[in-house]
């Protein structure tokens, strides 16, 4: 992998990390009912992705696995906490947050959950690849 490819992988990885943190922010903001009924709190995801991409363009992620783990842990804790650790609630929480955040209100919760799973998986894979490149 040459320097240019590594740079773009860094941007992608950083953008996906931004997705993870934006998702957590969207989940938490949706708990503020007054705000949730007035604005699309899911937009925090797009804001997170934007910030992530911006950071990725300007800086190299030094510890991709550690940051990825923190973001996943934050997602897991907030999902389990808000959804009372019930699988049915977790599926609804992730689904609606994604479909509102990605401005796709007409997709089903199942499709939204699939998008969420793929993006999360992508962020994990990009973190692993980035870590290997740094180590190598």
């Amino acid at each position: 992998m040459n320097t240019k490819q590594r740079k773009w992988l860094n941007v992608l990885g950083s953008g996906l990390l931004g997705f993870n943190f934006g998702f957590v922010a969207a989940l938490l903001l949706a708990q503020w009912t007054w705000l949730e009924l007035r604005v699309n709190t899911g937009l925090a995801i797009l804001v997170g992705v934007g910030i992530g991409l911006g950071i990725g363009l300007l800086r190299t992620i030094k510890r991709p696995l550690a940051v990825e783990s923190i973001s996943l842990l934050a997602m897991l804790i907030s999902l389990l906490g808000i959804g009372d650790a019930q699988i049915s609630s977790l599926k609804i929480l992730t689904g609606y947050t994604i479909r509102e955040g990605l401005l796709m209100p007409d997709i089903s919760l199942q499709v939204a959950n699939l998008i969420f799973s793929l993006l999360t998986l992508g962020s994990i894979l990009s973190a692993i690849v980035l870590k290997r490149k740094i180590s190598g």
């Binding site: 009912t33 009924l37 897991l76 609804i92």
Partner: protein, 234 residues
């Protein structure tokens, strides 16, 4: 320092494995659930004697003889887990994604429909009203969907934290509804903008955290399922 790095790396790997496993299990189980029910669901035909069928393309059906207005909606699963004060809202209104049921017909056509069946609006609420119950002709509101097999009282599909019950009225509010374009067709507490709302809870009950409403997951069908809401003049 090296020890710390290795420890962090090991922790990261364990966490990643755990999260990955949970994610895969959750997404796999999610892909299968309710998908068939959703795809097979189609709204039932208007059973009130007319040949009109409530659908996405014909979202409001008025039956003057039966004194009913039927509205095509779809379930928004979000409000099985989050609280809301919006029962039925037109999808393209500013509150279109904030209700338990997302309507395909707009609030202005719905208003005209209620007037057509002879309902009289209350028009007693102002935007700054606090603690005032909506007035207007009382309405029987029910829901049904493919497979439900019967009309179910709208209130059964909603969890009210106070368990007060529901008393739906034709509030009117045509001017506010047009000016604000929220799309509100049915609000779960008394509302100066919604065309119909619930007199059992005066204005601002939800905002003041006196009452909280959620969709009842044990009664309502899955997210995205078409549901026909029938408003009948009592």
């Amino acid at each position: 320092m090296k020890f710390m790095s290795n420890k962090t790396l090991k922790m990261s790997k364990v966490l990643l494995s755990a999260v990955l496993s949970v994610g895969i299990i959750a997404s796999l189980s999610g892909c299968g659930s309710n998908e068939s029910a959703k795809n097979s669901a189609t709204p039932p035909a208007d059973s009130a004697g007319s040949n009109l069928i409530v659908s996405q393309t014909n979202p409001i059906v008025i039956d003057k003889e039966a004194k009913t207005v039927k509205v095509y909606t779809e379930v928004n699963g979000k409000y099985f887990v989050e609280p809301t004060r919006h029962g039925v809202v037109f999808k393209d209104g500013s509150n279109g994604s904030k209700s338990v049921l997302k309507a395909w017909g707009n609030q202005n056509d719905f208003y005209n429909g209620l007037v057509d069946i002879g309902a009289k609006p209350g028009n007693n609420l102002k935007l700054d009203s606090v603690g005032v119950a909506v007035e207007g002709d009382p309405l029987d509101v029910s829901i049904t969907w493919a497979g439900a097999g019967k009309e179910i009282p709208f209130g059964d599909g909603i969890l009210d934290s106070t368990k007060k019950g529901f008393d739906f009225r034709f509030g009117g509010n045509q001017e506010n509804a047009k000016a604000k374009n929220t799309g509100c067709i049915l609000c779960l507490d008394s509302c100066p903008v919604g065309i119909t709302s619930n007199a059992a809870h005066p204005t601002k009950d939800f905002d003041n955290k006196i009452a909280e409403f959620k969709g009842n997951q044990e009664v309502l069908p899955a997210d995205g399922t078409p549901v026909v809401v029938t408003f009948k003049l009592k």
